[in-house]
């Protein structure tokens, strides 16, 4: 017998809260059950999740976003990848670009051919075979067009946006779809005898009951942790950064279609170009650097004038032992945090929402469904974690205590196997549902400085002269395709230019 959920409360109104509320509002239309967001303007949001990955399109489709309108309203720019500067060693740089690398031949990934030709000194840099990387370097952008086999038919992209404006935009949509917003700070969480959450009492004395609670209260996890004591798996031995300083700065030139992540002595610095400003931040490990020092490094490296006071953020990398516990689901930072290096924070919010719809409960809250939901979430988190650790661990940097620690730390066994395998044979082994593709693994492992000792033996099927010709052909197609693309700025101007704020 189904006992329909009558009311859902989403606690917290940052990106995670409003992404969840908007999706629930759009799908359930407030007809299936009541949806209420409780947020307090007194409690700030972290609001630095400003970069995304192409999977964000799935969320946008789910809620039916008009992309150009969304871009204008959130001061967004397009993103074709991430540039990692100084990660392998000071002076190094590589792109982790979205989309294809080269063109596969005879069922084999392009990179095997490229590895062979590079070892013979007959290949150009990888970026010249990768549409997104080359477009990043030349600050160009366009959406896919119908162009047959051309790489222009398949351009993978994501967005950079102002997280505060994004939450505001989603709030408007959610409210149009019937989501109710309540301003207030939770002062008491009431539980039933079985530990399930019954209601939230706010500072104004009102009490709000619901059947299902979605905790988007951020790092503190007011419901999932402070109330339900779910527990947290600490990963700071693998992902040691535990602080960030964020500051917006004035744009001094046209926005780039990529995020830049620059390694620093005890962490790294992000640079996210938006239409109205640049988002900057310095993620660092407090064991190796003071907040003052980190702030000074950040401010010294801004392109333009700082537009606000630097804002410190504290975190512990890791994940909840259960994302869904009893009648409470943790979404976003309340569920876990792995730092913004690969822009996975909002992706994990979206993945949680998507799974919520697949596992949408009734008031019986079947434990088997919850267990499977948690298993899938743990899989997602663990695979992303390994990919992030890779960036820190595989490095030649020995110029600071922090990098010495990262380079020599022990890593999860599965990651170790992946690295060993790539080193020995140039192969990447992954499960079907891992978020990062073998191309992502390839770009980062190569970019971090691993040179495989071998390539796939089938590559030798092609005579060397034939391979030279084919690689040159691919390079030339990529070159012509990028030449066809307009500049990132002119594409924005023509399609989704936002109004001035600053």
């Amino acid at each position: 017998m189904i006992e329909k959920i009558k009311k859902i409360i989403v606690l917290g109104g940052g990106s995670a809260g409003w992404m969840t509320a908007a999706a629930l509002g759009k799908v359930l239309k407030n007809q299936y059950c009541q949806i209420q967001v409780i947020e307090s303007e007194q409690i700030g949001t972290v609001g630095v999740g400003e970069a995304t990955i192409p999977q964000i399109m799935l969320y946008n489709e789910l809620i039916g976003l008009d992309e150009n309108d969304f871009m204008r309203r959130t001061q967004a720019t397009f993103k074709l990848g991430i540039q990692f500067v100084d990660w392998q060693k000071p002076g190094s740089s590589y792109f982790h670009a979205f989309g294809d690398v080269g063109k596969n031949m005879e069922g084999l990934q392009f990179y095997h051919y490229w590895l062979k030709m590079r070892s013979l000194g007959k290949a150009a840099p990888l970026d010249e075979y990768t549409l997104s990387s080359l477009a990043c370097l030349e600050h160009r952008f366009m959406r896919s067009m119908d162009a047959g086999n051309s790489p222009l038919s398949n351009i993978a992209y994501a967005f950079h946006f102002d997280a505060g404006l994004f939450a505001k935009y989603l709030r408007e949509l959610a409210e149009q779809w019937g989501v109710q917003r309540t301003e207030g700070e939770v002062v008491e969480v009431k539980q039933l005898d079985n530990g399930f959450i019954h209601s939230l009492r706010l500072a104004d004395g009102t009490e709000h009951e619901a059947d299902f609670f979605i905790d988007c209260s951020g790092f503190r996890g007011l419901l999932i942790e402070q109330t339900l004591k779910t527990g947290y798996e600490d990963w700071s031995h693998w992902l040691p950064c535990d602080r960030a300083i964020a500051v917006p700065s004035a744009s001094t030139f046209e926005p780039w279609p990529f995020t830049r992540a620059t390694a620093q002595p005890a962490g790294w610095q992000w640079r996210i170009p938006l239409q109205h400003r640049v988002g900057n931040g310095h993620v660092f490990c407090s064991r190796f650097m003071s907040e003052d020092e980190a702030t000074a490094i950040l401010l010294k490296n801004l392109d333009g004038e700082a537009l606000a006071e630097p804002r410190p953020i504290r975190f512990v990398t890791g994940k909840r032992k259960q994302f869904w516990n009893k009648n409470c689901l943790a979404v976003g930072l309340a569920g876990g945090f792995m730092e913004p290096l690969e822009s996975t924070s909002l992706h994990l919010v979206q993945a949680t929402i998507s799974k919520l719809f697949s596992f949408f409960p009734d008031r019986n809250f079947a434990q088997s469904d919850i267990d499977e939901f948690n298993r899938q979430m743990h899989f997602d988190y663990d695979k992303i974690r390994d990919f992030l650790i890779l960036h820190y661990h595989v490095t030649e940097r020995n110029d600071s205590e922090f990098w010495n620690y990262c380079r020599t730390m022990s890593v999860p066994e599965e990651l170790n196997q992946k690295i060993q395998q790539f080193k020995a044979n140039g192969r990447i082994f992954r499960f079907n549902n891992e978020m990062f593709s073998d191309l992502s693994w390839f770009e980062v492992m190569l970019g971090q400085g691993i040179t495989p000792q071998a390539y796939h033996p089938m590559v030798d099927l092609f005579p060397e002269a034939e391979l030279v010709k084919r690689l040159e052909g691919i390079r030339s197609v990529i070159r012509k395709s990028v030449d066809y693309m307009p500049s990132h700025q002119s594409f924005i101007d023509q399609n989704c230019k936002a109004g001035k704020i600053y």
Partner: protein, 458 residues
């Protein structure tokens, strides 16, 4: 790798593994040697291959038409299940017209909940075509149709094996035979060479061991098999009939059908089983063959790959171990180390095999005790097929089996909540009509088969 790749085993599995390995590696100068060994258990007279065979044949450069002609092949769009009171179809291909259509399966489930007389098959091109005895190869410019009519083949094992053996000889594979070869190891525990009876010693780079039999005694399985002469060209599918101990499966060939059923219980039950088989199929001449099976969780150890034993651990009439063997060999080729042995690679390979095996076992267990599996329980609650990490079983097969077994979700799909029932029904009706129109223009399997065989003779 300077040393040859040595494949040992017998029959179809040896020839298939040899064909894949030799086709891939001989062009690069790798030498392949296949050593045929005697076998204790008889191979089934026919095999059901899934859609991966078409891809594989393309890879090998082996025309499907040739297999159809030589191995008395027929097409298979999936399996038709018959339980006491119900029957249903488990297709290889997806339901609906578009493989990527979001929540289409959920719409079907919603309809099945509301209308007890409805069935899921009407929304699947493959199932509708199968019911009408139709089959067509999609034109080259219709990738969507090719996907919606994803097919496998039923083939006579002996002729299929002969075909592959001929193919292997043409590739230049050295074919040897031995009654009892001896493996010689080096100090690191790697196989250094294989010594045959006449004192011949073959150096070994890698040994792909395709023997299905366990070296140690394991579980005893009894395979009942029978053949009939009835031509079933109007049935482009396998038939799976429920019995009191499991299932009996019929694979139609061009000149008759092959039946098989597996039993793992006490030998004292054999007479009763024979009787029931006779009752269900009308056939009296059932052969019994027993085999030993043992789980192989680490098929890759050193330079020895026990792919046969691993594949045999999932082989049964409901799941062709050849599919697992192909997976194991192709996966290995994909990872083939060059000069160096990389333990991490073998470890990951074995982990993936365990995952593949557990997905097959889950699928098989579903047939007997759907609610004893996590997949069955999740489907009963939510109508969702749990995500799988390998391609062992296709999503449409999971869905087809689960819904066919009568499992219905307790909870409705929330992503369809913003569509009214009549909108959903109208959408489904449109798909159904389009499918009916498409299938009406399709040729029968017999016509398609004839055309394929004629193409070959020209």
């Amino acid at each position: 790798m300077q040393q040859p790749l040595v494949l040992i085993g017998h029959g179809l599995w040896l020839q298939m593994a040899t064909a894949i390995v030799a086709r891939h590696l001989q062009p690069f100068g790798f030498r392949c040697v296949a050593v045929e060994l005697p076998t204790q258990s008889k191979e089934p007279a026919a095999v059901a291959c899934g859609p991966e065979l078409a891809t594989l044949c393309q890879m090998l450069g082996l025309p499907l038409q040739l297999l159809l002609a030589k191995a008395k092949g027929t097409f298979s769009l999936g399996s038709h299940y018959q339980h006491n009171t119900t029957s249903w179809f488990v297709p290889f291909a997806h339901y609906g017209l578009n493989a990527a259509a979001a929540e289409f399966d959920q719409a079907i489930l919603q309809l099945l909940q509301q209308d007890q007389s409805a069935n899921a098959e009407q929304f699947c091109i493959a199932a509708v075509a199968a019911q009408q005895g139709k089959f067509a190869l999609a034109p080259a410019n219709r990738a969507d149709l090719a996907e919606a009519l994803s097919f496998g083949l039923h083939l006579s094992t002996a002729e299929f094996t002969a075909c592959l053996k001929h193919f292997n000889r043409q590739l230049g594979v050295s074919m040897l035979s031995s009654q009892k070869p001896e493996m010689l190891y080096d100090a690191q525990g790697l196989i250094r060479s294989l010594r045959l009876e006449q004192g011949n010693e073959i150096p070994v780079g890698y040994c792909l061991d395709c023997r299905a039999e366990a070296e140690k005694s394991g579980q005893t399985l009894h395979l009942f098999s029978a053949q009939d002469k009835a031509e079933l060209l109007q049935q482009p599918f396998s038939t799976v009939i429920q019995t009191s101990w499991g299932y009996v499966v019929r694979l139609p060939l061009q000149n008759g059908s092959y039946w098989s059923s597996q039993y793992s219980g006490s030998a004292a039950d054999m007479a009763r089983i024979q009787q029931e088989l006779q009752q269900k199929t009308g056939l009296t001449d059932w052969q019994l063959d027993s085999r030993q099976r043992q789980a192989e969780d680490q098929p890759w150890r050193g330079n020895h790959l026990r792919v046969g034993q691993a594949a045999a651990s999932v082989d049964c009439p409901l799941y062709n171990g050849l599919t697992a063997l192909q997976y194991l060999v192709i996966r290995w080729l994909d990872l083939l180390p060059n000069q160096s042995h990389c333990p991490a690679t073998a470890l990951m390979y074995n982990q993936h095999w365990l995952q593949f095996k557990s997905e097959v076992q889950d699928f098989l267990l579903l047939h007997q005790q759907p609610l004893a599996t996590k997949t069955g329980r999740a489907f009963t609650r939510l109508g969702r097929v749990l995500s799988t990490e390998t391609d062992a079983i296709k999503a449409s097969q999971w869905f087809g089996l689960l819904q066919g077994l009568g499992l219905r979700p307790e909870l409705p799909c929330r992503l369809l909540a913003n569509r009214t029932d009549s909108e959903i029904q109208q959408g489904l009706r449109q798909v159904q009509q389009q499918i009916a129109r498409l299938v009406a223009t399709m040729p029968t399997q017999a016509d398609t088969l004839n055309r394929c065989l004629q193409q070959l003779s020209h």
